[in-house]
């Protein structure tokens, strides 16, 4: 699995981090340098320029003597002792100023020079400019910048070291980012490897921080749960075929074989064949119900989702079943608002509700009442929903069986004597799940209240 470093996403992230850090630190250092050392240089130059301006005015007002006096005055008043002046005659001999002789390097006027000088026997650094005066006189104005130069060196050193430390930090940070990144995906990667290896119960552990990685882990876990449910469904169907269908198949086979061996009359033979055919039809019906549930659970029917009004649908179901209810002296009533917005596959929801009503009528005692109560749920985070409850006064489902009641082929003890395949509630549950809703089975004391919760509107594409 080891590939080149450049193919490693963690390495790339680490490098991006380091490069970003180096670029921003470099920019900061440059700005610091410009704002401190650069500023000092600019201040020195401004001071020299203003000196030159003043001295030029002096020269124009009083000629050479005035200039000499001004220079001497300035030197005596110079508290910081960093001003440099030198006035020389055309033969470069000193007339006034605090420099012993004209520095040999300074040849051109109005050009900045930075050069070492000797002042009172001490070596120092100066920044100077030369001005040519009428009559062949030359004036040198400058500042002793030894202290500033030292400061600048200090600053440069500090920034240099700072950058070096920063590079170290960047490298360290890069390593840290890389390991953090690896740790964040290590759990996902380990889970995927475990699942690929056959440990299907494994899930991604959450760090509990609720960050993006936790969100990703949650999404992955939800996906794994869904895959698990689908696989359970497939397993249940194959188990059902292996076990639950074996009984009716055995019955049909026995009847036909028995008739072939023992039937004495043609009439008896025909009757046995007809019963066998009816048994086979029953098996086919169970098969179709199983396939239908699998089809719904696979979720491929979402293309048929649309908005519709649930009330006419409820009325139609009640209309279909009320004659059956009347036969058994059971009353069937719909309690619903004038209209009820619903979103989903109307055919499937109708099928699910028909199953619930069919059950309710089937299990009602004589003289009992079945109520279909529909109402809009107040809008929650999901934009509200529709709650359709089917109440009956039958035996209900004991608490202990309720969780298993929606399993395929599960039939409660009390339901064994009533005809049915044990697939109805499994189908209702599958329809509810397809619609992002739930099927709740509650005690209506006495009886059962089956509540189907659906959404009222299309989910917002998030």
């Amino acid at each position: 699995m080891r590939r080149g470093l450049l193919h490693s996403a963690s390495f790339r992230f680490a490098m991006i981090y380091a490069i970003l850090l180096a670029i921003s630190a470099g920019a900061l250092a440059l700005f610091l340098w410009w704002a401190t050392a650069g500023l000092l240089d600019r201040q020195t130059e401004a001071a020299i320029r203003s000196d030159a301006q003043n001295l030029a005015e002096r020269w124009q007002e009083g000629g050479l003597p005035a200039l000499i006096i001004t220079i001497d005055d300035r030197l005596t008043q110079d508290v910081e002792d960093d001003s440099l002046y030198l006035l020389v005659d055309p033969r470069m001999r000193r007339i006034a100023g605090n420099l012993a002789r004209w520095p040999s390097g300074v040849q051109e006027a109005r050009v900045w020079y930075e050069l070492p000088i000797l002042r009172a026997g001490v070596r120092s650094l100066a920044r100077v400019q030369r001005f040519d005066l009428p009559g062949g006189f030359h004036l040198l104005i400058g500042r002793d910048v030894q202290v500033r130069a030292e400061l600048r060196t200090l600053l440069t050193d500090a920034l240099g070291w700072g950058l070096l430390i920063l590079l170290g930090m960047a490298a360290l940070g890069a390593v840290l980012v890389r390991s953090l990144f690896r740790r964040a995906i290590a759990e996902v990667s380990a889970t995927a490897t475990a699942i690929a290896g056959g440990d299907l119960a494994r899930r991604v552990r959450l760090s509990g921080r609720g960050d993006e990685f936790d969100q990703l882990a949650e999404t992955i876990n939800e996906m794994l749960d869904r895959i698990g449910r689908l696989m359970d469904g497939v397993r249940q169907v194959s188990n059902a075929i292996a076990h639950d269908l074996r009984t009716p198949i055995t019955r049909a086979r026995t009847r036909l074989e028995d008739a072939a061996l023992h039937a004495d009359t043609e009439e008896g033979l025909r009757a046995a064949i007809e019963r066998g055919t009816a048994d086979l039809d029953g098996i086919v019906a169970v098969f179709q119900a199983l396939l239908r549930i699998a089809e719904i659970e696979a979720g491929s029917r979402r293309s048929a989702f649309a908005a519709f009004d649930a009330v006419p649908l409820l009325d139609a179901i009640a209309e279909l079943y009320d004659v059956v209810a009347e036969e058994r002296a059971v009353s069937l009533a719909v309690e619903a608002p004038p209209s009820l917005a619903c979103y989903g596959d109307a055919d499937l929801i109708q099928l699910a509700l028909a199953n619930l009503v069919d059950n309710a009528v089937k299990f009602s005692p004589e003289g009992g009442a079945v109520r279909i109560v529909a109402r809009a749920q107040p809008g929650g985070a999901g934009g509200g929903g529709v709650e359709i409850a089917v109440w009956d006064q039958g035996p209900g489902i004991p608490e202990s069986d309720r969780a298993r009641a929606t399993e395929r082929f599960f039939r409660a003890e009390s339901a064994r004597s009533t005809p049915g395949s044990g697939l109805g509630l499994a189908l209702v549950q599958a329809v509810a799940q397809l619609h992002g809703g739930v099927l709740r089975l509650e005690d209506a004391g006495p009886g059962l209240r089956a509540v189907l919760v659906l959404s009222a509107a299309a989910p917002n594409p998030a």
């Binding site: 007809e274 086979l280 039809d281 086919v284 019906a285 179709q288 396939l291 089809e295 491929s300 029917r301 139609a316 209309e319 279909l320 079943y321 004659v323 059956v324 036969e327 055919d347 109708q350 099928l351 028909a354 069919d358 009528v361 089937k362 049915g420 395949s421």
Partner: protein, 227 residues
């Protein structure tokens, strides 16, 4: 009636052909798509029973689409083992008039194909249906028997209308469920029987001659004389 059966399974085809002939129909049989298409396009039939998965390069849907492409409006009943809702929708979209999934009961197949063949001979819009002394007026929505008015619920009216439109034919429970209630699933319990027995109470009970008959192992039939 002349009926064309396009089906490659020998047992199923033999059973269907024999059954249709016993019911008094003239039957042609093709065991592959190519022959089926040739027969359907060149000869006149009242209905076609068409399997979907056929050998010979032309499957049922291709055959059907080709026929419809030639503006051939012969009623076609698709008989297929492909039972998913989407497959049924595809079959009907390709031009099928009815869709029956395998395994099937012969009575159901016969009832549906006869209903289809007769529908093909539509005699235009009707405003009044009459069977013996029973009259149903589609405009005023009144039902009379022997001159006496019978009060029916809207759904009972539609049930009777369906039975009268198919008078003399067997109508199965699933056909009623689809045609009257527009439900495409099997409600398992005997809801249809209960609805029909309700209707009988009003339409047949007070009169000497019953019109609605139960056909064993198949469904119901509304016809003038008892047999």
């Amino acid at each position: 009636m002349r009926i064309l059966v396009v089906e490659d399974d020998k047992d199923v085809a033999g059973f269907v052909v024999r059954g249709l002939r016993e019911a008094g129909h003239v039957v042609e049989h093709a065991d592959n798509g190519r022959d089926g298409l040739f027969l359907a396009a060149s000869e006149a039939f009242d209905a076609v029973i068409l399997d979907r998965m056929l050998p010979g390069g032309i499957d049922g849907l291709r055959l059907l689409e080709t026929l419809r492409g030639q503006k051939n409006t012969i009623p076609v009943l698709i008989l297929s083992a492909l039972a998913e809702v989407d497959e049924r929708v595809r079959g009907l979209k390709s031009g099928g008039d009815d869709y029956l999934t395998k395994p099937f009961a012969f009575a159901e197949l016969l009832a549906r194909v006869e209903a289809l063949a007769r529908r093909g001979k539509g005699e235009g819009p009707v405003t009044k249906l009459t069977v013996a002394d029973l009259e149903l007026d589609l405009l005023s929505r009144l039902v009379r028997r022997a001159g006496q008015k019978i009060d029916l619920q809207p759904r009972e009216f539609r049930l009777l209308e369906y039975l009268m439109r198919h008078a003399g034919q067997v109508v199965t429970r699933t056909m009623l469920l689809e045609g009257v209630w527009d439900y495409h699933f099997d409600p398992q319990t005997n809801v249809i029987d209960v609805h029909v027995s309700r209707l009988r109470q009003k339409v047949d009970k007070p009169y000497p001659v019953p019109l609605i008959h139960t056909v064993r192992n198949a469904g119901y039939m509304l016809r003038p004389e008892s047999a």
